[in-house]
């Protein structure tokens, strides 16, 4: 009871500083690569959009630009979704699609954002949305419109309205922060004077599991982001680490050293039903459920150096998955189940690789040398990972074809350990 109270108090303190953290912890985006084929899209300023707290059309433009998949054509003047437009004219200006819209304030204080996506080639309307939201959700509304544009023009779901969680370190202070996928709208979920590593977002997006060293050793906690409630998921003798959720959110795979060296276990999300899944004399760690929940990928040194293996979700015989290089760690499976991302050490450099599970083709996705902790976007199109730039920890994003690239940096210390949140209802 006192333990719980202490946690609640600490959580309350963490929430208390959210407002102050908001002001100075914003992340900066630097784009360094774009897709092979960019779709030219004209995005007009939305009529009357200056009445909202954020400029909706600017957020949409930034989202689409960052994705590397679009070439943005400026329109000069605002165009509302009801303004008559000459699509042939836009086509001759090089735009394959045109985005128009407007913002209106409703009597209840909400902002009503309306938009239309027009195909200039087929001279047809591709999509239209009307989204009413409280002023503080203006950014989310803009991201949702960007998601819709991405989906209609690319053919897969956009992930601009999703969120990321990551750890910052400034001086002796560690923070678990949550932000929009573009690094804006930062909120602090946990503040500590001891390290925080391996955050993992629950499939429903309401909780984050992570490893905190506040008890002077690694212990796994699960924190409800909404209620601030925080429970110890695994605080067994020895080290407790590497939490990973099953796709249905009912259980987690974890790495525990309660019987000597680090081994993979599964545990229900309420802490019950602990089961040992691996049984070796070496290291088995970093478990990750496959997209269908039937298998677990993990890192093991059973062949000498660390390599990635796959076994059933209840343990049993394991098959080796990686064969190139002597050091392959941190497996992550794309939500569509097609790709395996991992960090490989080659010539002393730690770099992000992706393996096509269907054809066994391996591709290096980064040209940095201290890459760590990859995390797939929920639409399986991008990977976010931690790396170093100018001696500072930074987050990088790369499209799974390696072409589109951008970085999220902060002036306030190191930023690391990203986990990309799920699609939200």
């Amino acid at each position: 009871m006192t333990m719980m109270r202490k946690y609640l108090l600490r959580a309350a303190m963490a929430i208390g500083i959210t407002a102050s953290a908001f002001a100075h912890a914003q992340l900066r985006v630097e784009i360094s690569g774009v897709g092979a084929n960019q779709i030219p899209v004209a995005i007009a300023a939305f009529a009357n959009e200056s009445i909202a707290p954020q400029q909706v059309s600017a957020i949409i433009k930034n989202d689409l630009t960052r994705s590397g998949m679009f070439k943005i054509i400026d329109t000069g003047s605002a165009l509302s979704e009801t303004t008559p437009v000459n699509l042939g004219e836009w086509k001759s200006r090089g735009a394959d699609a045109l985005v128009v819209g407007s913002v209106q304030k409703l009597a209840d204080g909400r902002f009503d954002v309306r938009y239309k996506l027009l195909d200039t080639v087929k001279s047809a309307q591709l999509s239209a949305l009307a989204l009413a939201a409280q002023p503080q959700f203006t950014r989310v509304t803009a991201h949702k419109i960007a998601d819709d544009i991405y989906e209609k023009l690319i053919g897969s779901r956009g992930a601009f309205s999703t969120r990321i969680a990551y750890v910052t370190k400034a001086g002796n202070e560690y923070r678990l922060e949550v932000a929009d996928a573009d690094g804006e709208g930062t909120q602090v979920a946990l503040r500590s004077n001891e390290p925080i590593i391996s955050p993992a977002w629950s499939p429903d997006g309401t909780k984050v599991a992570y490893v905190s060293f506040e008890a002077k050793k690694p212990v796994i906690y699960v924190q409800n982001l909404i209620t601030r409630q925080r429970v110890v998921l695994a605080g067994f003798k020895g080290s407790n680490s590497a939490p990973s959720w099953s796709p249905d959110g009912s259980k987690l795979a974890v790495a525990l050293a309660r019987n000597g060296l680090t081994q993979v276990y599964s545990i229900n999300q309420d802490g019950s039903n602990l089961r040992r899944l691996t049984n070796t004399n070496g290291i088995d760690t970093e478990p990750q459920f496959s997209a269908d929940g039937q298998s677990i990928y993990f890192t093991s040194d059973r062949s000498g150096g660390p390599q990635i293996y796959k076994m059933g979700a209840n343990g049993g015989e394991a098959q080796r998955v990686t064969f190139n290089g002597t050091y392959n760690i941190s497996p992550r499976i794309s939500p569509d189940g097609k790709l395996l991302a991992y960090i490989s050490r080659r010539n002393g450099q730690f770099q992000l690789y992706v393996l096509d599970l269907a054809n066994g083709q391996e591709q290096r996705l980064s040209d940095t040398v201290k890459d760590e902790s990859p995390s797939f976007s929920p639409n399986s199109k991008y990977l976010m990972y931690a790396t170093e730039a100018g001696k500072q920890g930074t987050l990088a994003v790369v499209s799974v074809d390696g072409r589109a690239k951008h970085r999220l940096t902060t002036k306030a210390g190191d930023i690391r350990e990203p986990t990309w949140g799920p699609f939200m209802k």
């Binding site: 390290p195 690694p218 790495a255 000597g260």
Partner: protein
């Protein structure tokens, strides 16, 4: 409803206090413990009754001797190695003997790694180092209940540089008495 009960409790407390206070003899001497090993000045009358002899509770604990082998609490490892080297066997043995003599004492063995590589894999490697020390002490008879092997991986580096000297300093397991 509560008032009468509260009142009666207070009333009975006062009565009890009154009953207790009467037999106390104000002339009683405060008890004095004798740590000198003999009856201080018993029957001799030679020792100044105002003498104060100090007992230092920590003085007999070898753990606090800064010159003793127990002051050494770190075991260093080679790159990619998880074997306790001969150089550090005396450290492991001394702490094992201490723990065997002092059953109430417990230790945490914290394994560390250098900064190269992934956080989770390094955590597992640090555990391997802590575990190597724990096993050595277990072989010397130290009960499991007195030891816990944990890892800090590369999260709490003692040396902050990115050079061989710093890496060597961080390839380490520390014996910690909480």
């Amino acid at each position: 409803m509560r008032t009468p009960i509260t009142f009666s409790l207070i009333a009975s407390s006062i009565l009890l206090l009154g009953a207790c206070s009467s037999p106390v003899k104000l002339s009683d001497k405060a008890p004095v413990e004798d740590h000198s090993g003999h009856m201080a000045g018993a029957g001799t009358g030679q020792v100044d009754p105002r003498t104060v002899s100090t007992v230092n509770a920590g003085a007999t604990d070898a753990l606090n001797d800064p010159q003793g082998v127990l002051a050494k609490r770190s075991v260093y490892f080679d790159t990619d190695s998880y074997i306790v080297k001969g150089d550090f066997q005396p450290v492991v043995e001394a702490h094992s003997q201490y723990l065997l003599k002092n059953k109430a004492r417990k230790i945490i063995i914290q394994g560390n790694t250098d900064e190269r590589g992934g956080r989770e894999y390094n955590l597992a490697l640090g555990q391997k180092r802590a575990e190597a020390v724990r096993k050595s002490m277990s072989l010397l008879g130290v009960p499991e209940t007195q030891m816990e092997a944990v890892s800090l991986g590369k999260e709490k580096p003692k040396a902050l540089g990115s050079d061989e000297a710093s890496w060597a300093e961080n390839r380490r397991a520390d014996i910690v008495y909480p």
